[in-house]
Each structure stands twice: as structure tokens, then as C-alpha cells.
């Protein structure tokens, strides 16, 4: 017990992470109070902390959090379903994969959020526009990583399945898919990040919906402390999806 590596201790990594965050916040507070950092650019962490109560009571942040989380959830669902299906399709059709892979990769780097006027024209100024931009921007990494995941399935594992006379569908669901799953989930998580960034960005730009709109309003009022507090809720959405995706991955692997 005494020799157990510290990294394996149950609560220590979490405590270290929280302790590190607290130290950074304390350092920031000190630098601002000493005047080394301009408090009109970076607010005092203590002020941000106090403003949490204000944005919960006065700015209705919880319903905005739910709106953004709901849009992110819808986009995540579309990204996962379409991205994995398209990735699997491209993996099976080599010519098509070679034809599109580079421009799908190019799409991943494109600032799709700037196409928001086009989406506004097609879908109107509503949540659907935000979800669709989140979906389109999250799609490329999910497709690319799905292709990579299937391509990385060791041939010998498929041969094991063939030697047991598995049907093509059983080979896919029992071997190829679970083998590719860890890489597919890297793509899905990257897609979720891209989606969330774009969802909040579009909410900000079109001044509609959840946390992005709130950040916009608080920035307009130059209420920096509350704005940073609202950004903390955006991070909370990201953390929520990260944890959910990890649980989903584990569940899928257990059922494979």
C-alpha cells in the first residue's frame, strides 16, 4: 500500500487538478490586484465567482445552458450518426475515399461559422440554424477518424471472425466496429468540440438562443465578470458531453 504509485491513488489526481486550478486563479487574482494585469481586460476571479449568483438569478443562465446543451446534443446526435455512417461508407469504397478524403480534411479546417448568413436564409433565425451549423462543422473529424478507425482494424481479427464463419454483418458489428470504436470516439469528441464552438459562436453572432447570446449581451454591457462566469457554463457543457461520450464508449464496448 505504501509503495502504491501516487498516480494510481483514487482521489489524488482530481485533488491535484482542482488544486492546480485554484492556484492559477489565486495567482491571477494576485497579479490583477498588484496591477500587473489590467482588470478591464481580465476581471478578478473573485468577482467572476460572485457574479455566478447574479447570472443565475437575473440572467436566467440555467435555461440558456439547457438551450445550448440541447442544441449541442442534437448536433452531437447528427454528427455521430451521419459521421460514423459516412466514414464506414467511405472506408468500404476505396475510390470514393481517395476522391473525397482530402477535401473532407480541408472542410475540417474551414471557418464554416462564417457561412451563417446562408444557413439563416435556408433555415431562418431559429435553433435549427444553430444545430445545422454545429452539425456541419462537427462532421469532418467524425468522418475522417471513422475511416481511420476502420482502416486500422487488424486483418487478423477479421480473419478470426471469418474462421468462425461470421456473416459480413456479424463481422462488422462484432469485430470491425468495436475494434474501430476508440478511434471513432476520438473523432466524435473532436466533432463535438468543433460543434460546440460553432454553436456558441453562431448564438453570439445572430444574438439568439443560449449561452452565446448571453455572452454577447454581457459583452455589450461590458460586464466582464458575468461574461467570464457565462463562459464557465460553456465549459460545463463541454465537460458534460466529454463525460457522456466516455460513458457511451464504455457501454458500447461492453455490449460488443
Amino acid at each position: 500500500m505504501a509503495n502504491r504509485p501516487l498516480a494510481e491513488a483514487k482521489c489524488l489526481p482530481a485533488a491535484l487538478g482542482l488544486g492546480g486550478l485554484a492556484a492559477v486563479l489565486a495567482l491571477t487574482e494576485m497579479l490583477i490586484r498588484l496591477g500587473w494585469v489590467n482588470r478591464f481586460i481580465v476581471p478578478l476571479p473573485s468577482e467572476v465567482f460572485v457574479s455566478f449568483e447574479r447570472i443565475i438569478l437575473e440572467e436566467n443562465v440555467l435555461s440558456r445552458f439547457l438551450a445550448t446543451a440541447g442544441e449541442a446534443l442534437a448536433a452531437a446526435f447528427l454528427v455521430s450518426l451521419t459521421g460514423v455512417a459516412l466514414g464506414a461508407f467511405l472506408h468500404r469504397h476505396r475510390l470514393l475515399r481517395r476522391a473525397c478524403e482530402s477535401w473532407v480534411a480541408g472542410l475540417a479546417a474551414a471557418p464554416l461559422v462564417l457561412l451563417y448568413p446562408l444557413f439563416l436564409v435556408i433555415f431562418g433565425r431559429n435553433a435549427l440554424t444553430i444545430v445545422m451549423i454545429g452539425f456541419v462543422s462537427g462532421l469532418p473529424p467524425a468522418i475522417l477518424k471513422t475511416v481511420e478507425g476502420f482502416a486500422g482494424t487488424p486483418k487478423v481479427l477479421l480473419d478470426v471472425g471469418r474462421s468462425f464463419s461470421l456473416s459480413p454483418s456479424q463481422l462488422f458489428w462484432k469485430i470491425a466496429f468495436p475494434s474501430a470504436l476508440p478511434v471513432i470516439f476520438v473523432g466524435v469528441r473532436l466533432g463535438l468540440m468543433f460543434s460546440l464552438i460553432n454553436i456558441v459562436g453562431v448564438e453570439f453572432l445572430i444574438n439568439f438562443g443560449g449561452l452565446g447570446q448571453l455572452v454577447n449581451e454581457l459583452a455589450e454591457r461590458y460586464d466582464l465578470a458575468a461574461m467570464y462566469a457565462a463562459i464557465c457554463f460553456v465549459i460545463l457543457v463541454s465537460v458534460f458531453f466529454f463525460i457522456a461520450s466516455e460513458k457511451l464508449e464504455r457501454w458500447l464496448l461492453r455490449s460488443a
Binding site: V160, F164, L166, I175
Partner: protein, 285 residues
């Protein structure tokens, strides 16, 4: 010392005794490349009797693995046929269980779930499946490791999981392609002992592909020596060493003589393979 042999005449090489379970008849496998058609396996025929271990040995590139894939139904032969207990094989079949050279356990499944894999796909009831998994894990010496994942095991243990998974499906013929190739020498010897013990216990008809002469002599009743490209049957050597093959037998003079005899057959073929490989190396300008 040598009990029997066969030449390169393409005739069926019959099992030493007993009813043949596996009959490999005139297998020919060709590969078409841009510049030529290469015959990898050329009219290979042999039989394996019930409970017998036959090893196939040959130099690298002689078509051993191609033959493994053809017999296992993973590749189609251009000519010839494979028959198990009188039934013609036309692709992968539960009658032939395959153990591969590479790491082949499913990393996302526990050891128990790996062994249960084929039984689960075949729709066997859970209670019966669990019973069978326990039995085969005990047989390969992995009792108590049911809930471990392959990543938590050594290479030798993982290969035993793969063997248990194949045996649990109840194949008539166990087909193994260099199953110990990725292991260190000591683990190879110990695992060889274990496989031999399991084979004796189950009276499992076994066909082993290997490039290790000592391993072939340690495990087999007969050793089939293949020629280098195209792969043909050069000779079959009967190994008349007593069983169990204890450390004393492996260290005996007779064991050494069998190794030397097979090496003398193999040496010329291995030299051809080496010369061929050197000839295909890019020349320095």
C-alpha cells in the same frame, strides 16, 4: 530412425495410422502479379489421422501461410480440395479451427468473453457457454483470469486465450500458423509443452505450420518438409519419439538426430530462398 517419407511426386501422403480426419488433395494456389503468375503452392497433398499432430515446415516464402489460409477456407485454391471427415470444405467451416501467428485476442473483451466469442455468435445458451469457457480456460491453465482483459496478460497467456477460444468451438481439426512465433524461447518451450498436453488430453487432430525445426520435432507425429517456391511436399518424416516429450527426450540424441535430418532436407531450400531474396534486393549504383 526415420519411419516413412514421401517424394515430390504429387501423390497423396497418407497418415501414418488411423482414419484420416483431414485430407488435403492436390492443392494449387497461384498469384497473378502485373508481370507474372507465381505458383505459391503446387499440388500439395497429405492426410492427417485422428489425434495426430502433423507439422509443416519450410523456408520463408515457400507458401506455408498460403496453405494455412487455403485449408482454413480464408483463401480459395486454384485447384484441389480439402476434405474433413469425408465432407468437402468450401470456405471457413466450424470443422476447422484456426489459431493465428499474430496477436488475435479481442482487446475490448475479457478473457472469458474472448473464449465465449464463437459460442455466443452461434447462439449457445449462457449457462452452457459459461461451463464450456471455464473448462477450456482451465485446460489452458488460465483459470481465474476470466475477468481480465488481454492487455493485462503476457503474450504467451494471450496466445493461450486464442487457443482456448478455438478449441471451445469444438473443431475436428486444429490448424495453427506459427502460434509461438512472437514469443521468447522459454515461453515457446513451455507453451509447446502445454499445447502437447492439451492435444493428448483431447486427442485433437492438429496441423501445425512452423519454421522452427525443434518445435516441429517436439510437437509432431510427422513433419512435412516443403520445397522453396513453388511450395511442394519434399518429404515427410515420421517422428518416433516417445510421448510425453519430456525435457530428457528433448535433450536426447534421437531428438537431435531428427532435427539434423530435417535441417539437411531444409538447408538447400532455405539457401534457395535466401539467394532469391538477395537477387531481389535493389542494387547499389
Amino acid at each position: 530412425m526415420t519411419g516413412g517419407s514421401a517424394g515430390e511426386d504429387g501423390s497423396t501422403v497418407e497418415a501414418a495410422g488411423g482414419t484420416p480426419v483431414l485430407r488435403v488433395e492436390n492443392i494449387v494456389k497461384r498469384f497473378v502479379t502485373d508481370s507474372a503468375t507465381v505458383t505459391a503452392v503446387d499440388h500439395v497433398s497429405f492426410t492427417v489421422a485422428q489425434g495426430e499432430v502433423l507439422s509443416i515446415i519450410g523456408p520463408s516464402g515457400c507458401g506455408k501461410s498460403t496453405l494455412f489460409n487455403v485449408i482454413g477456407g480464408l483463401a480459395e485454391a486454384d485447384e484441389g480440395r480439402v476434405v474433413v471427415e469425408g465432407r468437402l470444405m468450401s470456405g471457413p467451416d466450424p470443422a476447422i479451427g484456426m489459431v493465428f501467428q499474430e496477436e488475435s485476442t479481442f482487446p475490448w473483451r475479457t478473457v472469458g468473453d474472448n473464449v465465449a466469442f464463437a459460442l455466443e455468435v452461434a447462439g449457445m445458451a449462457r449457462a452452457e457457454r459459461t461451463k464450456r469457457v471455464r473448462h477450456y480456460l482451465e485446460l489452458v491453465g488460465l483459470k481465474g483470469f476470466e475477468q481480465h482483459h488481454p492487455a493485462q496478460l503476457s503474450g504467451g497467456m494471450r496466445q493461450r486465450v486464442a487457443i482456448a477460444r478455438t478449441l471451445a468451438f469444438g473443431p475436428k481439426v486444429l490448424l495453427m500458423d506459427e502460434p509461438f512465433a512472437a514469443l521468447d524461447e522459454q515461453t515457446r518451450l513451455l507453451l509447446g509443452d502445454k499445447v502437447l498436453q492439451i492435444q493428448q488430453e483431447l486427442a485433437q487432430t492438429t496441423l501445425l505450420i512452423t519454421h522452427s525445426i525443434a518445435e516441429a520435432v517436439q510437437l509432431s507425429d510427422r513433419v512435412l518438409v516443403m520445397t522453396y517456391r513453388p511450395g511442394r511436399v519434399k518429404r515427410i518424416v515420421d517422428i518416433k519419439l516417445p510421448r510425453p516429450r519430456t525435457a530428457e527426450i528433448i535433450g536426447s540424441k534421437d531428438f537431435g538426430l531428427y532435427v539434423a535430418e530435417i535441417w539437411s532436407d531444409l538447408r538447400g531450400e532455405a539457401s534457395l530462398g535466401m539467394k532469391d531474396a538477395e537477387a531481389h534486393l535493389p542494387q547499389a549504383e
